[in-house]
C-alpha cells in the first residue's frame, strides 16, 4: 500500500486539506501536493493502461518525465486530456479520470493484447496492415482507433483565455534548482539583466531532498539566502511555474507559464507564453534518473528511486511498507536511507556493482542495518496490478533465481541523464560521459548565434556535474563565462559557494538486468512504458536491419509517446548499441525538439481566439451594413456585403432584386475596400509603364484608364482604373485583395531594381470611403445632392473631377464596372457614413438600394468584364482573356512582356476566354470542365476548357457564364458539354462574353 506518513512533507501543508476526485471516487490531499502525491497518499497506484498491451500502469516518476500517469483532467470548458499527474498541482475540487482503458481501469478487455504480445512485436502495424489495401480504411483503422488513443478529445469550447508576453534580457536562466539559483545570482552580481524560470511551484530543485552542506549550512538555508539575495536585486526577474519549453535561433526562447492551472477560474489568462530574446541562455535543467531494464519493471509499484525519495521527503507519502532498492550507483542509497529514517522497511539493496570497499552512502546504509547484496540484480518482479515481491539473481548471470523477497515497492536507479533538451534544440552537440554513462553537453560545440559564438551554456547537473560542490562551482563558472561574453565583470571577491563532498564510488553502466537476461526476461523488460516498447523489440528492430537510431525509433515507436522518451531514450539506444555490438556514442541520439514538455496549443495561439482570432477589416460604412441585413463574404481580411437581404427573401432573391434595381434605377455599392495607391515623382510615368501592360505615361491629367498588371512571368496579377492626378501624380486603383500586395510589389521593384528612379508610393486605401453610384438614376441623385456639375459634358466617361457634393468634399471618378451610368465617389473616411446617409436620403425617391458583391459580379459578367481570381488563377495571361487591346505595342518593355513571348505563352492551343450560354437557360456549375473526346493516360476524360464565372442573369432571364475554352474564340456557336458533380451533363453554346449592351451606350450617357 502507498499511504500518507505521519511526518509531514517539505512541501505539503497538513493544515490545508483539499478534496478531489479520481474516476468518480472522492479523495483527500493537502495544499502543496501534486496530483501524483495525492493519488499515492490515497493508495491509488494504478493510474492507467499502456498504449498497446493495456498493461496496468502506475506512477513511475515525480516530475515531467513521468510516462504513465496521464489523466483526463477537469470538466466541460476546462476539460483537458493527457495531463501529467506529476506536474499537476492539487486544488480543491479537482476531478481526474484515467485514460486508455475499456470498460474500467481495474478490468480492461484490451489487456488480452498482452497475451498476444508474441504476435504484436515491433513493426507489427507495418507488417500486418499493408494488405489487403481496402482493409485499412474499413477494418484496421476503425479498430485501432477504438482500442488505441490516450485521452478523450474535449467536447466543449475552452473557457479560458491565453496570452503572450515579449520579454528581453541579457541572461535567461532556465531551472530554479541550486545550479539555476547560483547561476542567476552570479550573473546578476555582474550587473546582467537576468530572467530565471522554474517549472515547478517551488525553488531549490531536488538538492534539498538529496541533502548536503553548503557554506556550512543545510541546502534549504542556502536556497533561502540565495532567493533573498536575488529578490533584492532590481535586475532580476524570477518566475515560478514557467517551463523553458524551447530554445531557438538568435537567443529566442519560449517559456510556458501556467498561471491558473492550480486555481481554475481565477481572473486573467490561464497560460502565458513568454517569448524571450536573451543575449545568453543558461540551461540549469538538472538531470533525469534512468530506469533499469529488468523483467516486470513496468508493474505498478516499481518506481524511480529518486521519485520514491521525493514522495517521502517532499510530500510525506510512502510508496510501500517494504521497498527493495535496486541500483548501479551510490545515489539510490539515499532512498534507502530516507525510507529507513521515515521508519519504513528496506529489506535489501540490490547493487549490480561489486565494490571493493564500503564508502560514503554504502557505508551509511549498512550502518543503518540495511542488507546490501553486491553484484545482485532483479531477475523478475512479481505481481500484476501491484508489486508483491522480487526474484533475486546474480547480475552477471542469466537470471536464475537465488532468493525471493516479498515487498510492495521497488525503487530503481540506472544512473542519471542530464536534461540536455534545451541545449540541443538549437544545435548544441553532445559527448558521451563514460564515468557517468550519460550524454552531456559538449561545451566546445554549443549552439551558435549569428556572430558564430555560443549562446547557450549548461550549468550543474544539466552539464553532467552531479556532486553538489561540482554543481555549484559549475553554475558559478557558467554564469561567469556568460557575463564575460557580454563584456561584464564580476565584482571582486565574488566566488562560488562551497559544498561538502561525499565519498562516492563510481557507478557501473547497466543496460540489461541481469546482463545475460534470457529472451523470456527480455520480453518483460520495458524500455518505453507508454508505447510498450521492450528490450526484445529494440533487439528485433536491430535484427531486421533498422540499425540507424532514427529508424529504430520509428520502427519500434520508442520515445515517440507524449513523454518523448525522457526515460526510455538512453536505455533504448544503449540496447540498440548492445544488439549491434557497437559503442553507444557511435549509435548516437535521436533529435531533441521543442517543446521540452507538452505545452497547450492555446498558449501558442495566445490572444488569437474567438472575436480576435483574426483581424477583421471594417469599412467606414460597415455599421450601416450590419444594421441593414448585409450577408457577408470574406474578401481578404475584409467582410464585404454579399447581398442585403430584406424581410424574408432568400439570398438569391436579394441578389436578383439588387441587379434589376441597379439596371433599372439606382444601386449603391460600398467600394471602399478597393486599393488606392498614390504614385508620384518625376519618373512615375515611366514606372507605371513598366508596372502596367498598357501605357499610363500618356494619360492626360483628369482622365482615367483601365490597366492590367502582370508579374515577371507574364501572368495577370491585378487590374484596375488608373487616374492621372497631375503632371507627376497618378492614383492607381487595385483589387480589394491587391492593395497591400501591389503596394509591396511596387516598393520591391522601386527598392531593389529601379532604386535610382524618383518615385514615391503611398497606400491611401483607407483614407477614403468610396461609393459607387450606379444606374440610370445615378446622375439625378448627384444633382439632387448638388454642388457641382456632373453632366456628360462636364464629367465624361473615364474622367475624374474634384468638387463638393451636398457639402462633402469629394473626388468623383466617372468609371463603370457594371455597364451602367456610374460614378465612383471618394470622400474622407471620417465623413463616409454621413455621405452614404445623404446619398440614401436623396436616392429614396429614385429607387436607391445598396447592392453587394454578388450583384457586382453579375453586373460585370453580363458586360463580359473579367475578375481577378475568377478568370485568373495565376496561370492566365491577358492574351488568354482577349485583353490584347490593353497591351501596349509601342512600349519597349513592361513587367511580363518577355515572358509573354515565350513559346508556351504564344501557343495557339492555350485555352481562351469566351462566353457560355446553356442551351436550356439553366446555370452552369461553377468550376465545371468541358469534356473532349477520348481519355488521357490516366484513363480520365480529356478536357477542353472550364467555367471561370457563372451566374443566373435576371437581366437576360437565363444562365450566363464565362470560361476558358480550347480555341474558344474560333468556335462561336459550337455546343460543348460540362458534366456536373450532380451527374447531369450541362450543354452550353460558345458565345461572345459580352452579353449586355455590347456597344457600351448605357455607361456613356
Amino acid at each position: 500500500m502507498s499511504t500518507r506518513l505521519a511526518t509531514p512533507g517539505r512541501l505539503t501543508d497538513q493544515s490545508k486539506p483539499l478534496n478531489f476526485s479520481f474516476n468518480g471516487k472522492t479523495m483527500r490531499g493537502y495544499a502543496g501536493d501534486t496530483l501524483a502525491s495525492a493519488l499515492l497518499a490515497n493508495d491509488q497506484m494504478l493510474v492507467g493502461r499502456s498504449f498497446k498491451y493495456h498493461r496496468p500502469r502506475g506512477i513511475v516518476a515525480s516530475g515531467p518525465e513521468e510516462p504513465n500517469a496521464l489523466v483526463n483532467l477537469g470538466e466541460e470548458g476546462r476539460f483537458e486530456p493527457n495531463q501529467r499527474v506529476t506536474t499537476t498541482e492539487l486544488f480543491e475540487g479537482l476531478t481526474a479520470a484515467s485514460q486508455n482503458h475499456w470498460p474500467t481501469l481495474e478490468f480492461d478487455v484490451g489487456a488480452i493484447n498482452k497475451h498476444l504480445s508474441r504476435f504484436l512485436p515491433a513493426g507489427f502495424y507495418y507488417k500486418m496492415f499493408m494488405y489487403p489495401r481496402a482493409f485499412w480504411k474499413h477494418v484496421y483503422e476503425p479498430v485501432i482507433r477504438h482500442s488505441a488513443g490516450l485521452g478523450k478529445a474535449p467536447k466543449a469550447r475552452d473557457e479560458d483565455t491565453y496570452e503572450h508576453f515579449y520579454s528581453f534580457c541579457d541572461v535567461l536562466v532556465v531551472g530554479g534548482g541550486v545550479a539555476g539559483l547560483q547561476a542567476a545570482l552570479t550573473a546578476a552580481r555582474a550587473g546582467a539583466r537576468v530572467i530565471l524560470f522554474e517549472q515547478s511551484d517551488h525553488w531549490g530543485g531536488r538538492a534539498p531532498v538529496d541533502g548536503g552542506i553548503i557554506n556550512g549550512g543545510p541546502v534549504d538555508q542556502y536556497v533561502e539566502e540565495t532567493l533573498a539575495a536575488l529578490k533584492s536585486m532590481d535586475n532580476v526577474e524570477m518566475r515560478l511555474r514557467i517551463m523553458g519549453a524551447g530554445v531557438y535561433d538568435h537567443g529566442y526562447a519560449l517559456g510556458y507559464e501556467r498561471l491558473s492551472d492550480h486555481t481554475p477560474g481565477a481572473a486573467g489568462p490561464r497560460h502565458r507564453l513568454w517569448r524571450v530574446r536573451a543575449a545568453q541562455i543558461i540551461t540549469a535543467t538538472g538531470a533525469i534518473e534512468r530506469p533499469l531494464s529488468f523483467a516486470g519493471n513496468d508493474i505498478p509499484g516499481v518506481m524511480l528511486a529518486s521519485a520514491v525519495r521525493d514522495y517521502v521527503v517532499n510530500y510525506g507519502v510512502s510508496i510501500g511498507d517494504r521497498t527493495v532498492v535496486v541500483t548501479n550507483n551510490d545515489n539510490a542509497y539515499l532512498t534507502a536511507i530516507a525510507l529507513k529514517h521515515a521508519g519504513l522497511d528496506v529489506p535489501v539493496i540490490l547493487d549490480a556493482r561489486v565494490l571493493p570497499e564500503d564508502r560514503g552512502l554504502v557505508e551509511q546504509a549498512k550502518a543503518l542495518g540495511i542488507r546490501v547484496m553486491m553484484g545482485h540484480a532483479i531477475s523478475s518482479v512479481k505481481g500484476g496490478k501491484r508489486v508483491t515481491g522480487v526474484n533475486i539473481c546474480a547480475q552477471a548471470g542469466e537470471g536464475a533465481v537465488l532468493e525471493e523477497i516479498a515487498c510492495d515497492a521497488v525503487a530503481m536507479s540506472g544512473g542519471w541523464s542530464p536534461v540536455v533538451h534545451l541545449w540541443s534544440h538549437c544545435g548544441g552537440k553532445l559527448r558521451w560521459d563514460t564515468t557517468h554513462a550519460c550524454f552531456s553537453p559538449d561545451v566546445d560545440n554549443p549552439p551558435k548565434g549569428a556572430d558564430g559564438m555560443g549562446f547557450v551554456t549548461p550549468a550543474g547537473a544539466a552539464s553532467g556535474m552531479f556532486a553538489l560542490d561540482d554543481v555549484l562551482h559549475d553554475a558559478h563558472a557558467a554564469a561567469e563565462g556568460v557575463v564575460t561574453c557580454l563584456d561584464m565583470k564580476l565584482p571582486k571577491g565574488v566566488s562560488a559557494p562551497v559544498a561538502e563532498r561525499r565519498e562516492e564510488s563510481p557507478m557501473a553502466a547497466v543496460w540489461m538486468m541481469p546482463q545475460g537476461a534470457s529472451a523470456k526476461l527480455r520480453e518483460k523488460s520495458w524500455l518505453d512504458y507508454q508505447n510498450d516498447v521492450k528490450v526484445s523489440d529494440v533487439r528485433l528492430a536491430a535484427q531486421e536491419g533498422f540499425v540507424s537510431v532514427e529508424h529504430a525509433k520509428r520502427y519500434t515507436t520508442l520515445g515517440m509517446a507524449t513523454d518523448q522518451g525522457k526515460l526510455s531514450n538512453i536505455n533504448g539506444l544503449a540496447t540498440l548499441a548492445g544488439a549491434m555490438d557497437k559503442d553507444i556514442p557511435s549509435v548516437g541520439t535521436t533529435t531533441f525538439r521543442p517543446p521540452y514538455h507538452p505545452i497547450s496549443l492555446a498558449s501558442i495561439a495566445g490572444e488569437a481566439k474567438d472575436h480576435v482570432f483574426q483581424p477583421i477589416r471594417r469599412t467606414p460604412l460597415q455599421d450601416w451594413h450590419d444594421a441593414n441585413g448585409a450577408e457577408y463574404e470574406p474578401v481578404g481580411h475584409w467582410r464585404r456585403p454579399y447581398a442585403f437581404k430584406r424581410g424574408s427573401e432568400t439570398t438569391h432573391d436579394a441578389v436578383m432584386r439588387e441587379v434589376t434595381n441597379t439596371r433599372e434605377k439606382l444601386g449603391l455599392l460600398d467600394a471602399s475596400t478597393l486599393g488606392k495607391l498614390i504614385v508620384k515623382g518625376p519618373d512615375a510615368g515611366k514606372f507605371l509603364d513598366m508596372m502596367y501592360t498598357n501605357m499610363m505615361s500618356t494619360l492626360k491629367p483628369g482622365k482615367c484608364r483601365y490597366g492590367l498588371m502582370c508579374n515577371e512571368n507574364g501572368f495577370l496579377i491585378d487590374d484596375g482604373v488608373v487616374a492621372r492626378i497631375d503632371e507627376d501624380t497618378w492614383l492607381c486603383h487595385t483589387t480589394t485583395g491587391g492593395a497591400e500586395t501591389i503596394h509591396a510589389h511596387m516598393e520591391e521593384w522601386l527598392q531593389t531594381e529601379w532604386w535610382d528612379w524618383q518615385v514615391y508610393v503611398a497606400n491611401v486605401t483607407e483614407q477614403y470611403a468610396q461609393v459607387a453610384v450606379v444606374g440610370p438614376n445615378a446622375r439625378k441623385a448627384l444633382e439632387k445632392l448638388g454642388g457641382m456639375d456632373v453632366s456628360k459634358e462636364a464629367l465624361g466617361f473615364m474622367e475624374w473631377v474634384d468638387g463638393t457634393l451636398g457639402g462633402f468634399n469629394v473626388r468623383i471618378y466617372r468609371i463603370s464596372f457594371s455597364g451602367e451610368l456610374s460614378y465612383e465617389i471618394a470622400v474622407d473616411a471620417s465623413h463616409g457614413r454621413a455621405f452614404w446617409d445623404a446619398l440614401m436620403a436623396v436616392g429614396a425617391d429614385l429607387g436607391a438600394m445598396p447592392y453587394g458583391t454578388e450583384c457586382l459580379h453579375i453586373l460585370r459578367a453580363e458586360k463580359g468584364f473579367i475578375m481577378i481570381g475568377d478568370e485568373t488563377d495565376g496561370t492566365v495571361i491577358p492574351q488568354d482573356l482577349g485583353l490584347g487591346w490593353a497591351i501596349s505595342k509601342k512600349k519597349e518593355d513592361y513587367l511580363g512582356k518577355r515572358a509573354q513571348e515565350r513559346s508556351h505563352m504564344t501557343d495557339p492551343n492555350r485555352w481562351k476566354l469566351v462566353g457560355l450560354e446553356t442551351v436550356d437557360g439553366s446555370t452552369l456549375p461553377d468550376g465545371a470542365y468541358a469534356v473532349a473526346e477520348g481519355t488521357n493516360e490516366n484513363g480520365q476524360r480529356n478536357t477542353q476548357g472550364r467555367v471561370t464565372s457563372t451566374y443566373h442573369s435576371p437581366t437576360l432571364g437565363k444562365g450566363i457564364a464565362m470560361g476558358l475554352i480550347h480555341n474558344g474564340p474560333d468556335r462561336m456557336g459550337e455546343v460543348v458539354t460540362f458534366p456536373g458533380t450532380d451527374g447531369k451533363d450541362y450543354k452550353a453554346k460558345i458565345v461572345n462574353p459580352v452579353f449586355y449592351d455590347a456597344d457600351g451606350e448605357k455607361q456613356n450617357v
Partner: protein, 189 residues
C-alpha cells in the same frame, strides 16, 4: 461638411488593468522625401511645429508633431482641422523637390493605453522591449499589435499612444482590452 467620425466614435474601456481609449480625429500627413535635404526638413518642421526627431524617435507638442517612420518617411501630426492647409503648404514649399505629402488622417485610428500596467499591455502584443530603461522618452516604434501593423510612443511613463489602420480599429481595441483583462498583470516593469 459633416462632423468627422472616428472608427469607434471614441470608445473607451476601463474594466481591465489599463484604460484603453480611442482618440482622434488627429491630423496625419505622410511625407516621403530625402530627409537629408534642407527644404524637405524645413517644410516638415513647419508642418509639424517641432524640430526633426532623430531616427526611431518622435517629437510632439500639443496636437503637432513629427514621427520618424523610415529613412525616407515622416509622419506629421497636426490638428485635424488644419490638415488640408498644411498639405497645401507642403506642396507649395516642395513644388520643386521630389517629395510626396498625402493626407492619411482618416486612414488611421489612434488609441491610448494608460495606467501603471500600460507597458505590460503593449508587451503582450508587440515584440518590443517595454522595460522603462529600454523604451522611454521620445522613442517611437513601428511594429505590430498582435496581427496588424501599428506604431506607438509614450507621451509619459504610464501612457502609450498607438496608431493603426482605421479598418482594424475594432480589432486593435478588442485585442488591447484582451491584453488588459482583469487579473492579467505580469508584474515585471
Amino acid at each position: 461638411m459633416s462632423e468627422p467620425m472616428t472608427a469607434l466614435k471614441g470608445a473607451s474601456d476601463t474594466s481591465g488593468i489599463a484604460t484603453v481609449t480611442e482618440l482622434g480625429p488627429r491630423g496625419m500627413i505622410t511625407l516621403r522625401g530625402d530627409l537629408t535635404a534642407k527644404p524637405v526638413v524645413k517644410a516638415a518642421v513647419a508642418a509639424g511645429g517641432v524640430t526633426l526627431p532623430e531616427r526611431g524617435h518622435c517629437a510632439t507638442e500639443g496636437k503637432g508633431g513629427i514621427a520618424w517612420m523610415s529613412p525616407d518617411e515622416l509622419l506629421i501630426l497636426c490638428d485635424y482641422a488644419t490638415v488640408s492647409d498644411r498639405i497645401a503648404d507642403l506642396h507649395s514649399k516642395l513644388a520643386k523637390h521630389h517629395a510626396l505629402a498625402v493626407n492619411v488622417s482618416d486612414a488611421r485610428a489612434v488609441f491610448q493605453v494608460t495606467g501603471p500596467y500600460a507597458r505590460e499591455v503593449i508587451a503582450k502584443l508587440a515584440p518590443v522591449d517595454m522595460h522603462p530603461d529600454q523604451f522611454n522618452g521620445t522613442m517611437f516604434r513601428r511594429t505590430r499589435i498582435a496581427q496588424v501593423p501599428a506604431a506607438f510612443w509614450m507621451p509619459d511613463g504610464d501612457t502609450v499612444q498607438i496608431i493603426c489602420f482605421r479598418s482594424v480599429a475594432q480589432y486593435v481595441f478588442d485585442v488591447l482590452n484582451m491584453a488588459a483583462q482583469d487579473g492579467s498583470e505580469v508584474g515585471v516593469f
